[in-house]
């Protein structure tokens, strides 16, 4: 089990948030759908490395992300395609493009690996940002758990609405196991659906930071200590600072 601690941050952190971090780190350390636990932990380490990568800083400062050339500073033995995916999604997500995603795939990553890594990036970014925001150090990376990935490919996954395949609610089948809380789940919810396990793991963690799905469109209710417009104002500002158009 991972050693998540919010002790010494000076705040009493709700238990479901602590549990969400603990569970998410345990799942990251476990074999996934396309990646072993060892590779997933290497991805997590590389996510943290990307924050200190000088080439990433150059890209972010450039008028165009394609205007600079160089090499990422890496600490892992992950492939060049994996490192490019991780560093760019961590450092400059608002200026990614479909041709860029195709180049990453052409570099030797399968679509499933790409989506699983994207889900891991999103999870680690949420948890590391939360600990940083509350003034505590990054959680120590857990030891990888041995085992083989399941290599489950949902039969309904297809490239249509997004750059990567998505399982639309009407295309989900029983072997996918529960995917959507509602057939109206938004596209942000569907984003990781090509790797159902990653999708379920991500939302189990993210819901405890923001809101569970059943509360998203209940604007007159809140289960947090903030009013809904306060939450949405911060959310919108953070998205805008990331140049996220969604």
């Amino acid at each position: 089990m991972s050693s998540v601690s919010f002790e010494n941050c000076g705040f009493e952190v709700r238990q479901n948030l602590i549990d969400a971090h603990t569970d998410a780190w345990d799942r990251i350390a476990s074999p996934g759908t396309w990646l072993t636990g060892e590779r997933r932990i290497a991805v997590a380490a590389e996510i943290r490395q990307a924050r200190a990568c000088e080439f990433c800083a150059e890209i972010k400062d450039a008028l165009s992300p394609n205007a600079v050339t160089g090499t990422h500073t890496t600490i892992s033995n992950l492939s060049d395609a994996e490192v490019e995916l991780i560093h760019r999604v961590v450092s400059d997500p608002g200026r990614l493009s479909e041709p860029w995603s195709q180049e990453v795939l052409a570099g030797g990553l399968s679509e499933g690996e790409y989506v699983e890594i994207a889900g891991t990036i999103a999870s680690v970014m949420v948890m590391d940002t939360c600990t940083m925001a509350l003034g505590v150090a990054d959680t120590d990376l857990p030891d990888a758990i041995a085992g083989e990935p399941t290599r489950y490919l949902p039969p309904g996954a297809k490239v249509e609405a997004a750059w990567l395949p998505i399982v639309e609610p009407e295309d989900a089948v029983e072997t996918d196991e529960p995917l959507y809380p509602s057939p109206k789940a938004g596209y942000i919810y569907r984003g990781l659906s090509m790797v159902p396990e990653s999708m379920r793991n991500y939302w189990a963690m993210a819901n405890e930071h923001y809101l569970p799905g059943e509360f998203i469109y209940q604007f007159d209710k809140t289960i947090r200590a903030l009013e809904r417009p306060q939450m949405e104002l911060m959310a919108a500002r953070v998205s805008a600072l990331h140049q996220c158009a969604y």
């Binding site: 705040f11 009493e12 948030l17 999604v89 997500p93 608002g94 200026r95 990614l96 493009s97 995603s101 994207a118 990036i121 999103a122 970014m125 949420v126 948890m127 940002t129 939360c130 940083m132 925001a133 509350l134 003034g135 609405a161 997004a162 990567l164 998505i166 109206k184 938004g186 596209y187 942000i188 569907r190 984003g191 990781l192 991500y202 405890e208 930071h209 923001y210 604007f219 947090r224 200590a225 903030l226 009013e227 809904r228 417009p229 306060q230 939450m231 949405e232 104002l233 911060m234 959310a235 919108a236 500002r237 953070v238 998205s239 805008a240 600072l241 990331h242 996220c244 158009a245 969604y246």
Partner: protein, 117 residues
């Protein structure tokens, strides 16, 4: 989400503030305190995070500070899913996102929309 929630709560919001920073056109309780904290977290500046977090704590208390940190953190994940998977921005808020609203908020100036032409 912001527009919908402010309408229901009878708050006021200037959508430009999302991209340009707070103005008097946005009237949401403790907006400045919370946005300052959110901006500090995005900047990853430890001193600024600590200072703005203290203001949130002094103003709104323990639970709101934890929830503010959690919400801001959550959107560090959502944006990366949306932008790495290439989710169509026109589907935001179940397709209720309107071009006029994106224009009003200044979102149409973002790289991805400019690249899409």
């Amino acid at each position: 989400m912001l527009r919908e929630s402010t309408q229901i709560a009878d708050n006021e919001v200037n959508l430009k503030d999302v991209t340009q920073g707070l103005s008097e056109g946005t009237q949401i309780p403790n907006a400045e305190v919370l946005v300052n904290f959110a901006e500090a977290i995005v900047s990853r500046d430890p001193a600024n995070i600590a200072a703005t977090r203290q203001v949130v704590s002094d103003t709104l208390g323990n639970d709101a500070t934890v929830d503010a940190a959690a919400v801001v953190s959550a959107f560090h994940g959502f944006v990366r899913i949306a932008d790495s998977i290439g989710i169509p921005y026109t589907t935001a808020v179940l397709g209720q996102d309107a071009p006029e609203m994106r224009e009003e908020a200044g979102i149409n100036d973002f790289y991805r929309i400019q690249e899409a032409g």
